[in-house]
Symmetry: C2
Subunit: 333 residues, 2 copies
């Protein structure tokens, strides 16, 4: 089925609006001005971090609906997920919504996976509009994947910091000059033998390489055809590996390439090791910064590649290697 990983949309599914909320460290980073809501209380007024993370979805959706100029009643479905066991942040968020919920798990690639599926639903006119909403939270992720926060564990230089926040995009049809999802390339689970759970960038880079290579081939494009190429959360380590892997094939990503995980923080000043990660990394950077650039026509053709690292604490204990996955969409205005 080589050559068929890319789905081309025919009926112009568009991104009608996006919304995002981020935590304290993200608000202290260079992209702060682009986020709709910046909070300082990691509990967001709730009793638990998990409840806070659920509430992020509601806030991100509210901003996105407002900008899209539609109401929640007009949504055909919400697609989304998060990093928590059994994806409870996302599913609990929509408990009383009365909106059909389609749960996804693609680790940190979930936002782009959702954009691709929402694009498919809207392109086929199955739903007039669909929302994509994903979240992550440094505090819920740390205690689930690593150590209790109070333990104050040391993190190696390759470690990335989970973004606290949520991003949401509304996909629908419109005559308005909104950014359009042109196509989506779905990626394969790619394992290059990394077993260090503190080096997820290295685990994900080969998946990004596979998906981007496939995407360029299937769409008959080269990196310079895009005004911006953004990977989700490879961080400093993974970003370099991706550039290196592609360069061996004679492909240069060029100056238009960014990694959302490298953009989120002022890495040196904020002491963020290899950068940012988490479902909310690509989701908030896209919903805030990249969407702003698309609407301002700073970039007209964007390739967004969500990257996910597929492991659980149990598989790490069982000495399994860590595969990655990467899905990509092209967005044009």
């Amino acid at each position: 089925m080589k050559g068929k990983e890319t789905v081309f949309f025919k009926n112009a599914p568009k991104i009608l609006g996006t919304g995002c909320i981020v935590g304290k460290n993200e608000s202290d980073g260079p992209l702060a001005e682009y986020f709709d809501e910046r909070i300082t209380d990691g509990r967001y007024g709730e009793k638990t971090w998990e409840q806070a993370e659920s509430k992020f979805h509601n806030t991100a959706l509210e901003f996105a609906l407002k900008k899209a100029g539609i109401t929640a009643n007009e949504l055909g479905c919400i697609l989304g997920g998060d990093l928590l066991n059994q994806c409870v942040a996302a599913s609990f968020a929509w408990r009383d919504s009365g909106i059909p919920f389609i749960g996804l798990y693609g680790a940190c690639s979930t936002f782009v996976e959702g954009l691709a599926l929402a694009g498919q639903f809207v392109d086929a006119s199955s739903f007039p509009t669909a929302a994509v909403s994903v979240s992550s939270h440094f505090c819920t992720a740390e205690r689930q994947y690593r150590n209790p926060l109070a333990y104050g564990g040391q993190r190696p230089p390759t470690a990335q910091r989970t973004v606290t926040g949520a991003g949401c995009a509304i996909v629908g049809k419109s005559d308005k000059d909104a950014p359009e999802i042109k196509c989506a390339t779905f990626g394969c689970v790619t394992d290059s033998g990394i077993s260090d759970a503190n080096n997820m960038g290295a685990a994900m880079a080969p998946a990004a390489y596979e998906t981007l290579s496939t995407h360029f081939k299937n769409t008959n494009t080269v990196p310079s055809d895009y005004d911006l190429i953004a990977t989700g959360d490879l961080g400093e380590v993974g970003r370099k590996i991706l550039i290196d892997l592609l360069s061996r094939d004679g492909i240069s990503l060029g100056d238009e390439y960014i990694d959302c995980g490298c953009e989120m923080f002022d890495i040196k000043r904020q002491d963020m090791h290899s950068g940012a990660s988490g479902c909310a990394c690509a989701a908030t950077v896209f919903s805030g910064y990249i969407m702003h650039g698309l609407l301002k026509k700073r970039w007209k053709k964007v390739l967004l590649a969500g990257t996910g690292s597929l492991q659980s604490p149990l598989t790490v204990q069982q000495k399994e290697t860590i595969p990655g996955v990467c899905h990509a969409v092209v967005i044009e205005v």
Copy 2:
């Protein structure tokens, strides 16, 4: 968006073949003859139960491909998931496959969620074929959700037993007289305040009630329009609640209603409390028993409703209530 939860397919996506594998207790149940492979070793020759669960996917796909008469190379994508944290059973299964993987999480509703999405992809001609594969394993689920197996914990009468196995369906277009996915109704996250993680049937029944009610209304059908109505894994407790809830609206599910969780085991003889559950419950009962009945024209119009209970051990510890979700598809031959 009331009335828009149901997506009607226009271009006849068909189920070209199914495959399934089950464990020892399922092989001792009344449906044993319908399963493609029955194993007695819960490790399936692997070092860990988790690796065994991953391998179930590969086996189920192999059977499904064989019956569909296609090769893995012809698949546009695999959609699927499981119950493990970060859905590692499914994603690890496809590590070396070279087939795009779209990860889903709908708890035990994942198989039907996947059928609906595969139907959408094939209906829109985005992929010529798509596979749906989901798994669960009693041993991996028990230690993750409840207690180490060696602990020998007592289970209350409302408890259900996680099915060990995997089911896979290949969706594609064909001139053959294969069962066709006519439409899909996507459900909302429904919470009726159940907080007992050993009573998932009660937690899921209200979601099944909501989705089925919506489905009957949107499709302008009544239960007697179907030759078979099957819910995923409500078990004895949830099944009765669903029948009761619908009867209050004057809707009788009739004799054609079964719950896969009640069919899998000889509940009394096998001492299975409220019945079976797990992603693989609906997936294997459909892929084995129901698909057999469709191909033999025993049933010509089937309503399959996957039911999922949305909780994690952490949310239960945090005293959260347990919402449910239910997605439904109509399959006709």
